[in-house]
Symmetry: C2
Subunit: 244 residues, 2 copies
């Protein structure tokens, strides 16, 4: 079996490390790649073809792991060509998955949750061809969500809805505690019920959010846009909080 | 040393169990108590005086653990009489603590966090006389917050601000996940980062909140009332969410 890789960042490199089998070969191309990426590919010691077109034509599974903004173009250019399964691992929106599915027949919407280089990353997949990827469970914990394209992307949005709104709540509550000079005590008392890691995790969430509040706001706007027919009282408040 | 108990529920019973020392005797009274409470007191095998006035007059530490709505009356009637420390363990608001401090000189504002009958409850105390209670650390983890009356009550409000707003967020996010038929997957994917207990804990929070949404709304209103000069974007959204 041949797995083709489009995009050669952390995800691709770690998949090569995780999926080690005599029956599986990885291929990719230097086409249009930076010197840094070419060096990475050389380090990985996998087969290199001249063009991504050849990669697509020779793959049983073609994996797109480049960037969300390239995802649709990659799908149109190469997903269309492949006879194999096309697995998109970019962090794309449900709308983009629906767009891709118009162009690519054997499309599987996937996401790796948990750090790809951690001990236990999980590969979530959906789409009517996703069963054909479940054998990957031998190498990486692989879980099917459903036969419906978009479900993995929606799941990521739901996750993001929770974590980003939680961050806004943590910002508000910790500001409040600080105003009463009880911030340390606030985190301590909550650790009793929320777990020992609560303080560090919460402070890291607060800092991450405040340090990239513009991007977080944009992501909340996308969430609100996508789920516009649902009640989003808390999410909208989180957006308001981040925009203050 | 003599510790007087006004109110004889779970808190008092468990304090007697936790604080076992030859140097400490507990006293209380049957005055105005129900037969059930009288039976409880008999079971505990502590000294019983005829009136709470006598209990107050004979205590080195007088503990009020009856109910939030009686707290102020108990303080006025008996806290005023005692020469000892007056420790209020009712779940009272900061405003009530300020009111009590007008009537009782040696007043300590306290709270037991974590279940009193669990392995590790913590007694938080504040007020300028609270140092005199720190010896209790031998029997129950006892932590001083500050010399300021009200700080323990404010800390409880801050904790409640967080947990109640979080519950509103969990309700919204899980409704959203359910609408997309991804509720189980939503809890699963978040457990990867939030911990194995995330699902059970969240579902229990959602159920508790929905089953007593009127009371939770009232508590959120009290929070909003107390912290009215602070930004409460998230808390106000939580109130709106619970009132839907």
């Amino acid at each position: 079996m041949i797995i083709g890789l489009i995009g050669f960042g952390k995800v691709s490199k770690n998949l090569i490390n995780l999926i080690q089998s005599e029956d599986i070969a990885f291929i990719t191309s230097f086409e249009g790649r930076s010197q840094k990426t070419i060096d990475s590919i050389k380090d990985a010691d996998i087969q290199v073809l001249t063009t991504f077109e050849e990669v697509a034509l020779n793959s049983d599974i073609l994996i797109s792991a480049s960037s969300p903004k390239n995802a649709l173009k990659v799908a149109r250019d190469y997903g269309k060509l492949t006879k194999g399964i096309y697995l998109d691992l970019n962090n794309i929106s449900p709308k983009t998955t629906f767009e891709i599915s118009k162009h690519v027949e054997k499309f599987v919407d996937g996401a790796i949750i948990g750090k790809i280089d951690s001990t236990h990353p999980i590969l979530y997949v959906c789409g009517k061809y996703c069963d054909e990827l479940l054998f990957l469970d031998k190498y990486i914990d692989t879980r099917k969500i459903s036969d419906n394209i978009g479900d993995v992307a929606i799941l990521k949005l739901l996750r993001s809805t929770y974590t980003k709104t939680l961050s806004a709540l943590l910002i508000e509550a910790s500001e409040l505690a600080e105003d009463y000079d009880l911030k340390d005590e606030f985190f301590e008392i909550l650790s009793l019920t929320e777990g020992d890691e609560f303080k560090d995790k919460s402070l890291s969430r607060i800092n991450n959010t405040l340090n990239s509040s513009k991007r977080k706001s944009e992501e909340l706007e996308e969430i609100i846009d996508y789920f516009e027919n649902n009640d989003l009282t808390m999410v909208k408040a989180a957006l308001k909080k981040l925009n203050q």
